[in-house]
Each structure stands twice: as C-alpha cells, then as structure tokens.
Amino acid sequence: MSFLNYFINGLSLGSVYAIIALGYTMVYGIAKMLNFAHGDVIMIGGFAVYVCTSSLGMHPLIAVLISIVVCTVLGITIEKVAYKPLRKASPLAVLITAIGVSYFLQNLALIIFKSDTKLFTSVISIPLISLADGKLVITGETIVTIIACLIIMVILTLFIKKTKAGQAMLAVSEDKEAAELMGVNVNRTISLTFAIGSGLAAIAGVLLCSAYPTLNPYTGSMPGIKAFVAAVFGGIGSIPGALVGGLLLGIIENLSKAYISSQMADAIVFSVLIIVLLVKPTGLMGKKMSEKV
C-alpha cells in the first residue's frame, strides 16, 4: 500500500475521531464538564443499528435514523438524571459521575447483548475504488466517513453562526449568568448541546462499526478516549479544534501503524499529545480564557 493510501485511511479514522470529539468539546464548552460516558453512547448507537438491521431486518438508512434518535434521547436523559443535579457540585463529583455513567452503560449493554463480539454488517454499500493499478484502494466506508465529517462540520458551523439557538450556545459557553439575563434558558441550551453531541455520537458509531465491523459493549471506550485526546489536542471547547485534532490524530495513528509499529501506535499518539500540551497548554486552537475576578 502506498503512503497516500495510509494517509487517506488515517483521514477517515480521524474523521470519526473528529465527529466524536465534537460532542466532547461542545459539552465541555457549554457545561464545563468532561462527559466520559460519551464514548459509550457510540457503542449504544452501534447496537441500535445492529438490532434494527440484524434482528429486525430494517433498511440500513432507517436503522441509522433510529440510532440517532436513540442516542439523542439517551444523551438528554443522561444529562437530566446524572449531571443536572450536580450543576453546582464540584467538578470532581461531576467527573466521577461521568465515569460511573460510562460503566453503567457498558454493563447495561453487557446484560442485554452479552460479552461476545458481534459481527456488524456495514450500512454502506458503495464498492471499492481502485486507482493507479490497485496501488490506491479506497473503500466506500472511507469516502462516506470523510464526506460525513465535512458535512457535519459545515452544518454545525452554520447552525452556531446563523441560528438563535446556536448563538445562545455560544453565549452560555462564555457566561451563563449573562446569557440568562438575555433571556436564554440555560438548562434547555445544555440539553440541546447533549442532544446534538449524542446524535453525532450515533453517526460516529455507525461509521466506526462499518469500517471496523465488530461490536461489543467496550467498542466505544477506546475511540472515546482517543476522541477526548483529539479534543484536548485541538483545544477543548473549540469546534474547529475538534476537527483539526481529530484528523491529525487519525493520520498520526495510521502512519505510525504503517511505518513504525502497530503496537506502538497508541503510545506515539499519546506522546504527541503530551508534547503539544507542553508547548501549547491550551491545545492547537484553544483560546486562553482569562479568569474573571
């Protein structure tokens, strides 16, 4: 395989990381918390599609839509039940709760779906593209993932820049009280953010399981952590940062696997994160926020 091939596959993996990282970064921006259960919402999204297609025999597209609805409702519920009562608690309490929710979802999936790994049938039925006498092979999943990531970025950016709800989100992320004085319902804005982030997690779950066609209750945890790294890498709280961080992470990971060592790939990814944070603690595109006194 050529360098270009590894690069494009990295771009595709990075697109999945970027879509997941958007959920992390938006929730962090608005609610100032790290939602460590985000990765497990991806897994639930994957299982939702699995049940719809394999057990109920639905059309893949309908299955994906159902999965988005399931994850959106799940995200809103998690926020209402687990995080909202802790709005005024210490960040540590919220963080531990998030980890608790993560374990809860994993074990719930373990009870319902058992621990054996399911074979996930890809929802994408676009054939392989082979270029330059088979030197460059691109799968349908790769193309769809990259395009999906771009479309999501464009829609999200327009939503935030052009709609009232989007502007309210920016206002809440900067100053909750001042936003409230404008008439913004802060609780509803936080719910909306969780809804969007979790809906995106469903899409990421489908794309991830289509490209790597296995599914078990722990499927979401590693991509979740990687996407968290991507969000921090790009500058947590920044939407373009999530895109840049996600793509770079995917590319670095894939190239490391190809040219250095596949066992060392994760170590290299995390080392890059450490180096970036040493040089620029706010991440690549993070803005330094001055604390108000």
Partner: protein, 236 residues
C-alpha cells in the same frame, strides 16, 4: 402602584446573611439609586430581583406580577433588563451578535431592526464597530455595548450595576448623560453605584445600603445635603 416593589428581601450565601430584610419601591418613570460601600449588598439585591440569586425570604413584584420565583430567563421577556456589573459582554462574539442576543426573547424582525437602529443612534460607536469582537472594545465601549444590549429587549425597567466602574471621568460623564436620556424616554431606571455623588445627581430618590440593611432613604437632593451621607459617601 409601584412598578417594582421589593419587600422584606433576604438573601443568604450559605450561612452568611448578605441581605437582611430590605424593602423599597421604584415608581414608573423614576430614576432610583442604591448607594453604599463595597460589600453592602447592592449587587446581591439586583441579582435577587432579576432572578439570578435565590431569595431566602421576601417578595419581589414587578408591574403587579409576583416575580419572586420566576427564573431569570423569563423575567427579561416581562420587560425588565439588567446591565450587570463588569459589563459581561460576550467577548468572543461581535458587537452585532451581542446586540442580537439582547433581543433574544423578541421575534418580530421589523421591530428588531427598528430597535437596533435606535440603539445605533444612541451609541454611534457601536455601529462603527458592529463587526468587531466585543472583547476588543475599550472599557467605555463595552459599557455602551452592555447598555445597548439591554435596551435591545425593549425594557420598561432597566437595572444598572456600577455602570461607571473603571471608566475615565469623561466617560463617566458620558455614561451618566446616556442614563439620563434613557430615563427621559420613559424607561424606569434602578441604578446601583459606588460613585454616590454622580448617582445622587441624576436620581429622583435614593436608598443608602449598609451591610445588608437600608439605613437611609429619601429625595436624592436631600440626601446629597445630609451630613452623614456627605461624610460617608461623598468624601466631604
């Protein structure tokens, strides 16, 4: 009937009693000033009125409606705006985006355009800088933006918290003359200020606040000549 009626208001921060039973009224068309030293509880009172702070006791009525337990985001739509201490503009948003957020609860596009032009007329600087990020404005401009943003909701009562804080004397003059204009156009003003001299000079009536209690109240001109006020707040 008073436009705003605060009765026996108490606010606690944990075990600390910040406001210990304060009652006052603001009538339609008045400029009322709350003066007092740092930590007297001025800001807490405004936060309690606009719903940002939970009240331990007491009631707040606005235009015959009990708003004691109405959340902050619903009070704006009722016709009360709050210009918070320290301006609190959205630094990462442009001036225009800030102003539009001020009108968040309003939906009529034509009326909005009208209000926006009115605000631009009053603050020409904001029009010049409408596409600039609010964080890049000077302190005086940010204060104007905070006031303009509040006016975008088309309030009948406006609460202002330390609008002169950190501004040069010339800007302080300008801000107070704008407050006078806003009042002349029929908006009722509740003003909290450390600059007691300036506050009393534009107010109709005033209340003096000391460690969570109102210790003096009356006509602003009379208070200006009161010996104890002169000594404690006017530096004479």
């Amino acid at each position: 009937m008073a436009m705003l009626e605060v009765k026996d208001l108490e606010v606690n921060y944990g075990v600390i009693k910040a406001i210990k039973g304060v009652s006052f009224e603001v009538n339609k068309g008045e400029v009322i000033s709350l003066i007092g030293a740092n930590g007297a509880g001025k800001t807490s009172i405004l936060h309690a009125i606009s719903g940002l702070l939970n009240k331990t006791n007491g009631t707040v009525r606005f235009e015959d409606t009990d708003i004691t337990n109405v959340p902050a985001h619903r009070i704006v739509a009722m016709g009360m705006a709050h210009v918070p201490e320290g301006r609190r503009v959205f630094a990462q948003l442009t001036v225009l985006e800030n102003l539009k957020l001020g009108a968040y609860t309003r939906n009529d596009k034509n009326e909005l355009e009208e209000t926006l032009n009115m605000v631009y007329e009053r603050f020409p600087r904001l029009k010049e800088r409408k596409n600039q990020l609010a964080g890049t404005l000077s302190g005086g401009e940010q204060q104007m933006l905070a006031m303009g943003r509040a006016l975008m909701s088309h309030p009948r009562l406006i609460l202002m918290d330390e609008p002169s804080m950190g501004l040069s004397p010339i800007l302080v003059e300008e801000i107070f003359s704008i407050i006078r204009d806003i009042s002349a156009e029929g908006v009722t003003v509740l003003l909290v200020e450390q600059n007691a001299k300036k506050a009393l000079s534009i107010a109709d009536r005033a209340y003096v606040l000391e460690t969570g209690n109102i210790t003096l109240e009356g006509d602003a001109k009379e208070l200006m000549n009161d010996e104890s006020v002169k000594k404690a707040y006017l530096g004479e």
